[in-house]
């Protein structure tokens, strides 16, 4: 039997171009929370029977005074986190993204955003991470609903580096922020070590088309770009970890060559990153060919996260095909 280290090395080798497979972003989140809590007693994790899913059990054991359990009560989760934040605590409300951004949406809108309390909303197992558990557990609406609420930064880190940087930045933020990620292993770092909310990362540059991707849609876009390279097609890959505020400057810069743009996200095609980018570019005179890849406005197919991604073409193969189509 292979031990897990060997297995990891094997998997790592399979990833082309020296991209090292890392941990699930979820684990990076919980490890970062621990590091932060060691030196900052104000860090609070607020959970709704979600500390296991949030990988926060060791955090809770190590910092029992810094974890607040609210039970399965997501409205109260956000209300309590608001009350803690209003008293100066760095409150992280941690709950599956599907419940956090639907069941407690009014608390997010009123108590956090409108009332300007710097709560850090952490949507775990986001998008279709829960796979075959079905649509009750999917969050394919969160960017859309939160984009329509003012005073919130919306973040979906692509890799381990972005996740740690996002959690660290969130701890210092004085305005509301929502960060969502999944539980499947992601690359350690697909790009440089620069990170700032609202500033996209250029992971690869090429002049034939641009992938504008976010969250766990970035990696397949990156893989597709490498594949296209083999066919002589040079693609840019942007990781737009911050969906709001959108890095319009960076997007315009890469749109200005007039080449096609392909957006990729683990979200409904309605109201997410793709529409945000399209809206900005169209209103500013750009007329590039444009394709939004995400989950269609339909009941989601049943399967694992990978199977769902494959089904809707959020994969190396699917995105390669879509890119070639778009270039025709």
């Amino acid at each position: 039997m292979m031990n897990s280290l060997e297995q990891l090395e094997m998997e790592t080798k399979e990833i082309k171009n020296e991209v090292l497979l890392g941990k699930p972003n979820l684990e990076v989140f919980s490890a970062t929370m621990q590091k932060l809590a060691e030196t900052d007693r104000g860090i609070m994790a607020v959970t709704s029977d979600s500390r296991g899913s949030g990988k926060l059990v060791p955090f809770g054991q190590k910092f029992p005074e810094q974890i607040v359990e609210v039970g399965i009560a997501e409205q109260n989760l956000v209300g309590v986190a608001t009350g803690l934040a209003a008293m100066g605590k760095k409150a992280f409300a941690v709950s599956p993204a599907c419940f956090l951004t639907a069941r407690s949406l009014e608390q997010i809108k009123n108590d956090v955003c409108y009332s300007d309390n710097p709560v850090k909303l952490i949507g775990i197992s986001a998008g279709v991470s829960y796979g075959a558990l079905g649509s009750t557990h999917h969050s394919l609406h969160d960017y859309a609903v939160l984009r329509a609420i003012n005073n919130i930064t919306i973040v979906a880190p692509a890799d381990n580096f972005e996740t740690e940087a996002a959690i660290r930045s969130a701890a210092e933020m004085e305005t509301p922020v929502y960060i969502r990620f999944g539980k499947k292993a992601m690359p350690q770092n697909l790009g440089s070590i620069d990170f700032e909310f609202g500033k996209g990362r250029v992971l690869k540059e090429g002049s034939d088309l641009t992938f504008v991707a976010t969250g766990e849609g970035v990696w397949p876009a990156y893989q597709a770009a490498l594949k296209l390279e083999e066919e002589g097609i040079h693609a840019t890959v942007l990781s737009i970890h911050t969906i709001k505020p959108l890095d319009t400057g960076l997007i315009e810069k890469f749109a200005s060559n007039g080449q096609p743009i392909l957006t990729v996200e683990e979200h409904s095609v309605n109201g997410g990153l793709g529409e945000a980018v399209a809206s900005h570019l169209f209103q500013n005179g750009f007329r590039n060919k444009f394709k939004i890849v995400g989950l269609p406005d339909d009941h989601t197919v049943h399967g694992s996260q990978v199977e769902i991604f494959d089904h809707y073409g959020i994969s190396e193969e699917g995105l390669t095909k879509t890119a070639i189509e778009l270039l025709k």
């Binding site: 409205q75 109260n76 209300g79 009350g83 100066g88 009123n110």
Partner: protein, 273 residues
Amino acid sequence: MTAKELKDKSIELRRKTLEIIYNAKAGHTGGSLSIMDILNVLYNRIMNVSPENFNDANRDRYIQSKGHSVEALYTVLADRGFFPEEDLMTLCQYQSPYIGHPTKGVNGMEQNTGGLGHGLPICCGNALAAKKDNSGVKVYTVLGDGEMAEGSNWEAMMFAAHYKLDNLCAILDYNKLQITGSNAEVMGLEPVAKKLEAFGWAVKEVDGHDYDALIETFESLPFEEGKPSFVIAHTVKGKGVSFMENNIKWHHGVPSAEQMEMAREELLIKEEV
């Protein structure tokens, strides 16, 4: 202030609240009049909060969960010196910070409320933080009886009892009416005291317009060590103006010129008594 002084003040506060509603041609009249005495006692006798200490982290906190009765709160805050009374003549006007629900844009307001069922969860977070910091801060909220149908309140009630938040005091403005009709018609709340007790709260019932009783009740907080306190304040919606009392028409009814004159006269007579 003494019970007598507070009681005398309440007549003036009621008149001023009606004046700003009359001037704005908008407001939640009935529910403002029903909580007036509670707010008067909290701000002028019980809570450690004033314009001078409002930026002090150790001030007591009041979050009005039934945000719609903001006119009573505006009147009490102005009277307490948080902002000039004349400001309230801009109530609900274009670009005025004094809108129809509490917002932090107004000095003295802790949180923006207006959606029912939001105050108590936030107060739970406040009270828990105060416990962790050993700050001695006390946290107060007023809920409407119709508002009690919101599930979030019951989530928060479980939480407050679980965490033994005896620095938290929730007050039920039990005027028995909501918009459509009485609680009993719209959504029965009884036996509310038993429900609150079953949720782990220490409960006291009080006449929400009796100053001696209100003072005595609030001065006996916490009712039980290790338990959050719920004050069931029996009130009259529209209290103080005979034709507004116990009438759902005055939930957000605005007095006409004639009605305003009648209300002024009634309150004047009370002042002279």
